[in-house]
Amino acid sequence: MHTRTKSRRAATATGVVAALAALVATGAVVAPAAAAAPSAAAPTAAFLAPYYTAHDLTGDKQVTTADLDALTTHLGETSASAGWSAAADVDGDGTITVKDLVGLSQRMIYDDGPFQLVEASALDMQAAMNAGVTSSVKITQEYLDRIAALDRTVVDTGTGGRALNSIISKNPQALTIAAEADATRAQKGMTSMLLGVPIAVKDNYDTVDMPTTGGCGCWDGNQTSDDATMVKGLRAAGAVILAKASLDEFAYGFVSEFSSFQEPGKSLLVASPLNTSKTAGGSSGGTGAAIAANLAGIGFGTDTGGSIRVPSTYNSLVGIRPTVGLTSRDGIIPLALSQDTGGPIARSVTDAAVALDAVTGVDAADPITAEQSGKVPTSYTAALDPEALKGKRIGIVTSMLGTNATVTRLWAAAKATLQAQGATVVELSTVPAAFTATLNEGSGSTNEFKHDLDVYIQNHLAPTVTARSIADILATGRNVTSRNSIYTSRNNVTDAQYQAWAGPTGTHTTAIATGNATVTQLMNDNQLDSLVYPSGSPYNTIGTNMRLSPNTGMPAITVPMGQAIASDGTNPVVGANVNLEFLGRDYDESGIIGLAYAFEQATHARATASLYGPLK
């Protein structure tokens, strides 16, 4: 039996924010810009292992020009030579030649070819910045330009075309931060994979340089004095916090309707860049839309009951819902702390893994994070193995597939891919009743919101904000007023009800513990490395699939599986995306990242937003 759930609640009453135990890879991978001196900074962690770290000759777990220097001293040597360096023999042919030099050079993160921002990965950005082709300032400015040109503009001239409305605030300090990142690179080389990479965070993460509205006009003035712990981690890694992304007000639903900076009674909806007549999903819909439309490099969302994974599947992105406890929730406006967790939304598994590295760590302000001790790898990027599916057992509960024709077709193809990659697919047509109960367990968003929001208000809400309770929020009239009844019902939850639900022996607390034990046992019984299921159907969800991860606390990663085609059943939304989700055991993010990466590399199933190409 998993026993951690009793500490699942965030004890933020003290308001003390402990320093993030930085697990960010800080190796200075030297790929110096044209005018920059080679870095001599000592690394602290393997960097994008193994490809970019293999054949390191200088012992700094990275490949730099210093390694190339070292290799040239061995040119001409054979395996019979005195002082033979097997590590320098990149091609393994027993002789050190220029071919080995080339092979080693290609392990550097460096690219002086043309750089295109749209669809650029963090790796692409780093390689181009290291080569001096671009800079963080240039990249940041390009994203700011794209936001200005594309976000609130109706780009889609087709029927039902809408503006994205994915960004609530742009960071006025973004270019200054980017310049600092460029200075760091010039002085020390690339200190992390996020150095200078612009990131959009959902507007429920506290940021010292932008207000945190939670999507509510009632909190337009919530300029907090501190960053959320996860934001601190991103800044420590050198990322540029570019913007705050739209969300469903207070992260409640899947349509991403928000009232921030709107007139009283007015609200906006976030559209999917793949089809702007459709919703971007929610509640992290702004993050999903912004990343799909290339308005930022990498995004962050929060997930209580699907809020990272739904926008990921609607917008053909990769999302990670980490184990509850891997990422601190301190400084994030809560919805239901029994289930809340923050994680990345990205255009690739690699980007998601890179981003996740920066936000883990034990945080005294969120005690459940203590459970991660000893369970977090040096870098999740070490799991990025295209052959990770080989020999693995992948389970699927067939009842979670639903009946949608697109999903049925895509799953059949995905199953074939998994098998072709060497995995065994275990179809489970029957499951224990406790498994079904876990899927059917309700969300904590109703019973926990008032309690948890009050803790945030006490510890983080700017003193100048007058709406300091649900009742106050309703009184402002500056919220999504069509949801007033929902607010009222949440406001009516008593402390006794809360305790009966989420207290140490509350029904939901127990249900999550039971769910965790049940699913873990199911995986053990069937010797499964992961459970998979579709994250949704085209612009929709499937049953209660999204509840499996939050109602167990177990991690999940969702990755594009394919898109709807005209022959898919009746009136398919052609082009609409569907993701496949990999659920893993507690803190086995590495395991499921590897599986998702192998699946991604085997399929390349992601759809890009053709409406949002390079600016003209």
Binding site: T97, V98, K99, Y110
Partner: protein, 244 residues
């Protein structure tokens, strides 16, 4: 983590970029080419020189396709000329290492990371000091080309310059005799520039011979064994400016 797929995308792209100032097209690793190739190799050197003076020797790999890295060993008579340490000028935007031995200079060069391979004309220029009366030719004794997927094309004695006649120093002359540089290139360039395709003609006008249409394009040959000669080298390295 495997290699950045950006290169794979680039393989499908059309070459549009030119390496600034060098006239080298980049980003055009043609997928149909199975091995790196050059259309011809030339070695340009002045016809005459005077002991005590310096002069440049330029090796041009003309019409290169998908060259990510190379190693070129230039041989000469050490009794009459010597390599001027640190004088090598190679393609910018990569890493290079120059190793000198008795009668040879070994230049190795590689692009970095996922940078595109080179195409067009690739040159490197070395400066030599004339040390004694006599004569020497400059021969590309061995040449290995490596492409972006590590295919290798190797050859021996790819090109030789005509002999450079070294005249004795004019001891009574108050001013040294200018080094002849019969280049028709840009005035003042002395034939030492890493000119682009437009200056490759100038290189042809220099006293030089080359192996036209040398068989690099035929197939990947057996990798040239550098082996035992390497132990004779004294190692000296420098990096191209862009790699600093």
């Amino acid at each position: 983590m495997h290699q950045n797929p950006r290169r794979l995308v680039r393989l499908l792209a059309v070459a549009t970029a030119a390496l600034a100032g060098l006239g080298l097209a980049v980003g055009a690793a043609a997928p149909a080419v199975a091995a790196p190739a050059v259309a011809s190799v030339t070695v340009s050197a002045p016809a005459t020189a005077t002991a005590g003076d310096t002069f440049d020797v330029t090796v041009t790999l003309a019409g290169a396709t998908d060259v990510y890295g190379y190693e070129s060993v230039l041989a000469f008579d050490p009794a009459v000329v010597s390599y001027v340490d640190g004088s090598a000028v190679v393609t910018a935007g990569g890493f290079d290492s120059v190793r000198t031995g008795s009668g040879s200079v070994d230049v190795v060069y590689t692009r970095l990371g996922t940078s595109p391979a080179l195409s067009g004309d690739i040159t490197y220029t070395l400066t030599f000091a004339a040390t004694a009366e006599g004569s020497t030719a400059f021969t590309v004794r061995s040449l290995s080309l490596v492409d972006s997927v590590s295919a290798v094309t190797a050859s021996a004695d790819a090109a030789t310059s005509p002999a450079v006649a070294i005249a004795p120093a004019a001891v009574t002359s108050p001013t040294p005799t200018p080094t002849p540089t019969p280049s028709t290139g840009v005035a003042g360039s002395g034939g030492t520039g890493t000119g682009g395709s437009s200056t490759s003609t100038a290189a042809d006008d220099l006293a030089s011979t080359g192996s036209n249409a040398v068989p690099y394009v035929i197939a990947a040959l057996v990798l040239f064994a550098l082996g035992t000669a390497a132990v004779l080298f004294t190692v000296r390295r420098r990096r191209a400016g862009d790699a600093r």
